[in-house]
Amino acid sequence: MSGHKVGVLRGSWLTYLLVGLVTLVSVFPLYYTVVMASHTNAEMAAGTPPLLPSLSIVDNVKKALELAPLNHGLINSLIVSGAITAGTVALCTLAGFAFAKLRFRGSNLLLGICIATMMVPLQMGVIPLYMLMARLGLAGHLSAVILPSLCTAFGVFFMRQYIASAVPDDLIEAAYMDGAGPLRVFLSVVVPAARPAMAVLAMLTFLTAWNDFFWPIIVLSTQNPTIQVSFQSLATGYAPQQSIIMAGTLYGTVPVLVVFALLGRQIVGGIMQGAVKG
C-alpha cells in the first residue's frame, strides 16, 4: 500500500477541495453532536442554530450518566469485545492454519460451507438462539453475547488466505523435520508469521463487536447492558432533552473514536489488504 506508483497523477486544487468536502461530510455530524450536546431544545430551535459547543456539555454528560448506565455499559462492552476478539483471533488462526496448510478429507467442502454462511441474515437464528440462552440460564448475561461470536466464518477465511501465502511450506516442514509436534509448529512457526494478519483481524473484530447492536438488544437488558444497549435508557422518560441524549451518546462513542484515530492507519491498511488479498 505504501510508495507511489509511477504515473500516478498529483492531485490538483480541485482534488483537494473535493476530498476536503468529503472529509467535512464524514466528520461534521460527529462535531455537531458536541454542539447539540451543549445546547437545550430551545436554543437549538432558535432562528440561527448554534455552531459552537459550550461548557454546559459537562452538566449534560452528568445528567446523562444519572439517566443511563453508561459506565456500566462501557465496562461491559470492553469485557465482551475483548473476549470476542481474543477468542476469534485464537480460534480463527488455528482453523485458518488447518485450511491453509493441512490436507484433510472434506476441507474444501467445509471451507465452502463456511464462506456460504456469510449470506445468512442475522434474523435467521435469533429466536431459537434466545431460547437456547434462556434454557442455559444465560439470557441477560454477557456470555450470551460472547459465545456465538467466539469465532467467525470471515475470520477463518481471512486467516486462511493470509497463512496460505505468507507462511512458506518449507518453514513448516523444516520444523517437523526437527521433531516439533503440531502444536509446537503452530505456536512457534505459524503464529509469529501470521502476526500482522492477526492484528488486523483483532482490530476489525473488536470494532464490530463494540458496535454490535442486534443480538445484544435482544438478549441483554438495560440492567446489564453493553454500551449500545445502554443508549436506550437515554431517550426514556417524559419529554426527553436532546442535549442529554446527545451528551450520553457522545460519552459512549468518544472512547472508541479515540482508539480508532490512534490506530486509524493500521485499520485503513487492514481493510484495504482484506479487499485485495487474493
Binding site: V8, T117, T208, N211, V256
Partner: protein, 336 residues
Amino acid sequence: MTVASPSAVAAPPASTTRRAGHSHLPGRRIAYLYVLPFFVVFAAFSVYPWLATAWVSLHDTRLSTYHQSNWIGLENYHNLFTNKFFWNAFRNTITIGIISTVPQLCMALGIAHLLNYRLRGRTFFRVAILMPYATSLAAATVIFAELFDPKLGLVNWLLHAGHLPTVDWQGSKWPAQVAVSAIVTWRWTGYNALIYLAGMQAISADLYEAAAMDGAGRWRQFLHVTLPGLRPTILFTIVVSTIGAAQLFGEPLLYHNGLPDGGTQNQYQTLGLLMYQQGWTNDRLGLASATAWTMFLIIVLAVGLNLYLARRRVRRDGGHRRRMTLAAAAPEVSAR
C-alpha cells in the same frame, strides 16, 4: 501483506495448497482437531438456530408455549404472504435498499478515484472518511435523528435558510426513507471507497500508460481501464450491500425511538423490523420465523440474480469469468 492479485477478493490461491510436497505435513486427524472449535461454535450457535427457526416457522409458537406448540404446516407462510404488512415491509426493504446503496456505491467510486491521486496527508483523509464506519449504528442513528428533526434539526434549518420548503423527515414516507438511507450511506460510503481504492491501486500502471499512448484522456482512462479493472470489486460490493440492505434493522428501529413499527404509518418498516415486531412485540414466534426464512430466500435470490447478471455481462464482453467469494464481506454484513 502484499497486493497479490488485481481481482479483489478473488479465488483463493489454490495452487499453494494443491502443490505436491505436503508429505511431511501432519496427518489428517490433527487438522480436524484444529477446525473443531470453530465448527462446534458454529454448529451450536448458528446451524442449530437456523434449522430450529425453520421448525418453529411450521408451528403456532408463543414464548410461553415454546416447547409444546402446535404443528400448523405452512400456515404461517400463507398468513405472511396474504398480509399487507409483509408486502409493505417487502416494498420498503427494496426501496430503502436502492436509495441507500446505489448513490452510496457511486459516491464511493468517485471518492476512491479522488483518493487515488497523489495527495499530501492522504492517511489523514483516509482515516477521516472512515470515522463514520467506527461510529456505532446506535450512535449514528441517534445523531441523524436529531439532524433530521422537523423542528430542531439542522437539515430543515438549512432548507429554511435557503428559502426552500421544510420537510417532515419523520412522518412523510419518502423523506423518512431518504433519512434512514442517509444514515446507512454516511456510515458505509468511506468503507466502500477504501475497498475501491485498494482495487484501483492493484490495476497495473502499464494499462494506464498504454491508454495514454493511445490518446485516451483521464475520463476515457477511467471508463476503459479503471472500471473494467474494478469489475470484480464492484460486483463484490454490490453483493455485500444487497445482503446488508435485505436485513436492515437497527437504523429504522432507532430512527423511531426504538419502536419496531417503522413510523406511525409503517412508512419505513423493513422486513427485519417486521420480524422483530412479530416475534418480540406480538409474541408470534412462528410467524416471525417464517419471515426470517423468507428473508433468507430473498437474499439468496437477490445475490443469485446479481451474480447471474454479472456473469452474463462478462460473457457477452468476452472477458474471463472470475470466481468470487465473500471475503471482506463479514465485517460489513455482521456490523449492520
